[in-house]
Symmetry: C2
Subunit: 388 residues, 2 copies
């Protein structure tokens, strides 16, 4: 690939972000992330490939739905099959046969949500593996080392995921730990490697902490930034306020990743507030439960009303599934517990998410993001009859 000089902030072949277009009436913008494994146009959604595979998807399927970056989980891969093993086999890209960019989270969230017991110290987290109960340690330096071993394109700092709700004092204490860990991750990073490192903003649901965290993290020189600790149960409006507060303090010449968020509405509002990258298990998990996203709302395919429905999940949808199969067939597959159901459903939901963001990009390029968002909500309302 030929890279024009002005498009690279760092060395060619290394990580770079370039903002392409700003929406005139919001913080929405398009951009291009360049990594050693190719580029991604932003804003975009990263399918979640927890254990080195996006559940039910082959790399061919991911290409077909338009995925540009895939997210994997450091915590899971470290425990099984182990990052050293993956490294000896040539790295995670080769292991899972995904030739595009990969971002890994640092494992902080999984230590918080999955590990059996955990003890957090200044040094890091000691926890029991949820797989075999073995005693494990994850600290900032180890999180970076594991992600470097995996050979991913974008590494995340180890953070402490502040629980929701958290009072001001404990949220502040937790945030400070995340900041100290962020500096240690920067220190630990091998500068000879080509991998980017993103810092994570915490601060709970306290606007002053979010502002302070964004200022602190944003000044450390990371290749990009993330907003963590959201979508943990807080009200939608609170979430948007925290995003807006943090995004307003972060340098706009670096990509912004909104971690673990979320619903289609979250994406539309996140883009409006300047977010470039998203990940969430919602489209893949819901697909495996037979809940499909459409412009008009959700289709719950096991519903008896679809028993003999000859239409695709969404009329006009260009995905592999909608171009070939009826709701009646998909319902049959789900009722019969057939494996094909999960692949076909996941293809549709990921296609929906990725197409939604492709349309958001087009709207930003055309300078009419607000119209796009309005259209999104209007179609939702029209489809209220689809709700369960």
């Amino acid at each position: 690939m030929i890279v024009r000089k002005d498009e690279t902030r760092l060395d060619q072949g290394f990580f770079s972000y370039r903002m392409l277009r700003e929406d005139p009436s919001s913080r929405a913008r398009t951009g291009r992330i360049l990594t050693p494994h190719g580029e991604a146009l932003t804003p975009t959604f990263m399918p979640v490939g927890t254990r080195g595979t996006v559940k039910a998807m082959g790399p061919d399927d991911l290409m077909a739905v338009g995925a540009a970056i895939v997210l994997c989980n450091t915590y899971h891969l470290m425990l099984r099959p182990g990052h050293e093993l993956i490294q000896r086999l040539g790295g995670l890209h080769r292991f899972m046969n995904w030739s595009g960019p990969i971002l890994t989270d640092s494992g902080g969230y999984q230590v918080y949500s999955l590990a059996k017991t955990r003890a957090l110290t200044e040094e890091g987290a000691v926890f029991q593996s949820h797989i075999d109960g073995s005693r494990q340690f994850l600290g900032p330096e180890k999180a970076v080392a594991v992600q470097e071993a995996l050979g991913v394109d974008i590494m995340m700092c180890l953070d402490e995921c502040t629980p929701y709700p958290a009072d001001h004092e404990s949220a502040a204490r937790s945030m400070e730990l995340t900041h100290r860990w962020a500096r240690r991750c920067l220190e630990a990073r091998n500068p000879e490697r080509t991998q980017a490192l993103f810092g994570i903003v915490q601060g709970g649901t306290h606007a002053d902490l979010r502002r302070a965290s964004a200022q602190a993290i944003g000044s450390m020189g990371f290749h990009g930034h993330a907003i963590g600790g959201l979508a943990l149960g807080e009200p939608f409006e609170t979430r948007l306020e925290m995003i807006e507060t943090a995004a307003g303090q972060l340098p706009r010449d670096r990509p912004l990743y909104l971690m673990g968020v979320g619903t289609p509405e979250d994406l539309v509002e996140g883009v409006r507030r300047g977010a470039d990258l998203f990940d969430c298990v919602l489209p893949t998990r819901n697909a495996r439960n037979g809940q499909f996203f459409t412009r008009r709302g959700r289709v719950v395919i096991r519903n008896a009303r679809y028993r003999e429905d000859p239409d695709p999940i969404e009329t006009g949808c260009g995905c592999f599934t909608c171009r070939r199969f009826s709701r009646a067939y998909l319902r049959h597959l789900f009722i019969a517990d057939e494996l094909l159901a999960y692949r076909l459903g996941t293809i549709h939901n990921l296609y929906y998410y990725l197409t939604l963001l492709a349309e958001a990009r087009a709207a930003i390029e055309a300078g009419r993001y607000n119209d796009f968002a309005e259209g999104f909500y209007r179609e939702r309302t029209d489809g209220a009859d689809l709700a369960v």
Copy 2:
């Protein structure tokens, strides 16, 4: 598709079989089956799509592994989602988005193997659905009507699957019932429809009955013939003897389908004895259990020896899976119960089966089938170290 006059035994666009080449030193032959949904070169293997889906495979995957015909189960589809529903939705091809030929078995074997209780009379079988316990009836006329409603290309007569072992008297009685039902199926068939109907030879493991059954069924004017009631636990040598006995009595200008058989060895020996079509759940079921077929024997992927193995399941294999993934990755997927494991494994096993028969066809065309079979066994022996 343009069909040359001399290639059609019946009307154009309808079912036909043409033998292309005979091996000089065995009964192996190549042929071409023509159906309203395209052709199939024989001998070939039909992946089993029990409930209107070959487990874990999309139609794209089936094309990629080289499947020419798919088999579905009348019994299963009749009970769920129901053949009338499938008919109203445009037939089974459209329902499952498979544009190639489809063969359905008649349900006789499933009544024998799956139904909760069953009462067999001259009229047919009354049984309880294994899904909801509902009372169901399946007789020869109904079996044909259901398969006509599904719109498949090749229908099978309803037969009684004679259990193994069965003494001469009960095997004879069962065979006679199958013959009477075969005549009723022929009568019941709507001659205005374009679907072919195959008759089934029974007779247990009694050579005289197999001979008599093949003569009776072979004289009724079916579009093709099948040998049923094998692979029920009888010794390999007995099975081959029954195949040889029956095949020797059947008209050689019609295709011969060896039902529910079997292992790669069964295929090699079945072809040698004149069989053109095969089906079996072995490649697909084994794949989902992590057991893969290779020229050198079976690979049990959960085995610890594959933990860090960078090689594909089979070096040199051209399947989607082997061109992309290591044994180490596949082992990881199986150990972690990841859905992708089932698709990738099934792709490999079906590719192995279909390629084995493609090579058999090439050997027959070259007049050296015995060399091919010898090579098959030699590679097996060399790979004895792969055995579990």
